[in-house]
Amino acid sequence: MSVTSYSERPTARADESSALSVPWSRPRPKRRGISARAVSAITILAVLAAWALSARLQLVSPVFLPSPFAVWNKFVVVARDGFVDATLAQHVVASLGRVFAALIAALLVGVAVGLAIGISTIGRGIFDPLLEVLRPIPPLAYLPLVIIWFGIGEPSKILVITIAMLAPVALSTASGVRGVSQERINAARSLGASRFQLVRHVILPSALPSILTGLRIALGAGWSTLVAAELVAATRGLGFMIQSAAQFLVTDVVVMGILVIAAIAFVLEFIIRRIERQLVPWAGRE
């Protein structure tokens, strides 16, 4: 007798919610459906209410804290008529354009540098110290130097954001590359992979989850550098809008600009998480 057919059961996938629950809080039936999300919503509403109330009772001068309604009105007005010669959409597009231009530059350079660090001893010797020096410097500190070198045009702003993004991308790539299992590399080599094929078909895809994490961190770093970069003789952009509004004490535009920056950061984070799920569905399941 020989075994000719049988079926095997795929491994059961852990239920996501149970995988995420804190180990020391034992699962128990939920009491009347109070979720963390509901608590978060209530918290935000409470903050908004406190803000509205303090404005209503005029506890604080509107110059310091305009009411939520004034901010909302400003949002509508600026979206329609613009502020300092550009509509809100134009400011947003200008800022996003800079961040994405910087992101592409940072990805091209950062992934290459990260690969070099992860793969070769010489690459690590060259780039590791450079990154370690560059990483802790706040972008505002090297901004003046970049202006001396490259002027006050668009390239300087993009360059500053790129530098801010470079370290997270390169370091995550390097750690992803170093984390590739030796067995996986040996298997590919024994199947006939050349050195280049090894990088292209095994190392890069293996490091992809890590690269995407780096990209997410980089986007956060870049977005927060944006305001600093746009302080420099920009004529458009969210940072510029806030800056010029502050000079004229148009506080409602300042608050509105901050909220728009926060909203965009939130949306970007959300989009990248979606991309991660699409691109590296195996992450955390190996």
Binding site: S2, N186, L191, W282
Partner: protein
């Protein structure tokens, strides 16, 4: 007939001798199994054959050519499947073909044939994490066979599987070996597994790793000519060989 030859091979790790003067010949169609206690250098020897470890003395060659690097003429299957999770089962199997520039249609067709051979037909579109441990090892075997190797190097390929899956995989291995007529060099901890699969069993002892006994066995040939595994295992000769092999492995165990 092409041979995989390890001739008087010694392997040292950081000055420590792991293997001392071991010679092993694997001809095409052989199924050679290395057994022995931990630290006897089984895996080191396999890695020398794979071209992943360089011996300090002695030589390794395949069909007369010296082994200096890994190559698709000796595909390796590891204990942890080492599959690529970003590829489907089919794409994993077709990996070696892709490296050689085989066109997509052709390599998908080849991969599906191989998946059928390891009894995974229909699982080609599955992602790796959707497969059980046994299914993954099957994909790993199919992927190694896709390189059309003359020899298969198996490093405890069934080590991570549960007992029942293991037993089924043994018959799959024998079927593949019979069908493809490759030469196999395999490392295992399983005494019964060695007896079921091997045409020759090389018993190694640790400190440093060396050959203590070589058994020529015929149980796998009996399977190849149609006898059922259960009837082979029920044969008193199997039990006797099992006892003899166990004695050889633990012979000279420090008292």
């Amino acid at each position: 007939m092409p041979q995989l030859v390890l001739d008087n091979v010694s392997v040292h790790y950081e000055g420590q001798a792991a293997v001392e003067r071991v010679s092993i010949n694997v001809a095409k169609g052989d199924f050679v199994v290395l057994v022995g206690r931990s630290g006897c250098g089984k895996t080191s020897l396999l890695n020398v054959a794979a071209g992943l470890v360089e011996p300090v003395r002695g030589s390794a060659s395949i069909a007369g050519r010296p082994i200096t690097a890994p190559g698709p003429d000796r595909a390796v299957v590891f204990q942890n499947d080492a599959l690529f999770p970003w590829l489907t089962a089919r794409e994993n199997v077709a990996f070696a073909l892709r490296l050689r520039g085989v066109p997509p249609g052709e390599r998908a067709r080849r991969a599906d044939e191989l998946l059928k051979l390891v009894k995974l037909d229909g699982a080609g579109d599955k992602r790796i994490w959707e497969l059980s441990g046994g299914m993954r090892q099957r994909v790993g075997l199919a992927r190694a066979l896709a390189a059309e190797p003359e020899f298969l190097l198996l490093d405890e390929p069934l080590g991570a599987l549960d007992a029942l899956t293991r037993e089924r995989m043994q018959t799959t291995l024998l079927d593949l070996w019979t069908a493809s007529q490759v030469g196999v060099l395999m490392v295992t901890h399983g005494i019964e597994e060695a007896l079921v699969l091997a045409t020759r069993i090389v018993v190694l002892a640790p400190g440093p790793g060396r050959v203590v006994r070589i058994f020529e066995t015929g149980f796998s040939r009996r399977y190849a000519t149609g006898e059922a595994i259960r009837s082979i295992k029920a044969d008193p000769a199997f039990a006797a060989a099992r006892g003899e092999l166990t004695d050889a492995i633990f012979e000279g165990e420090a008292a």
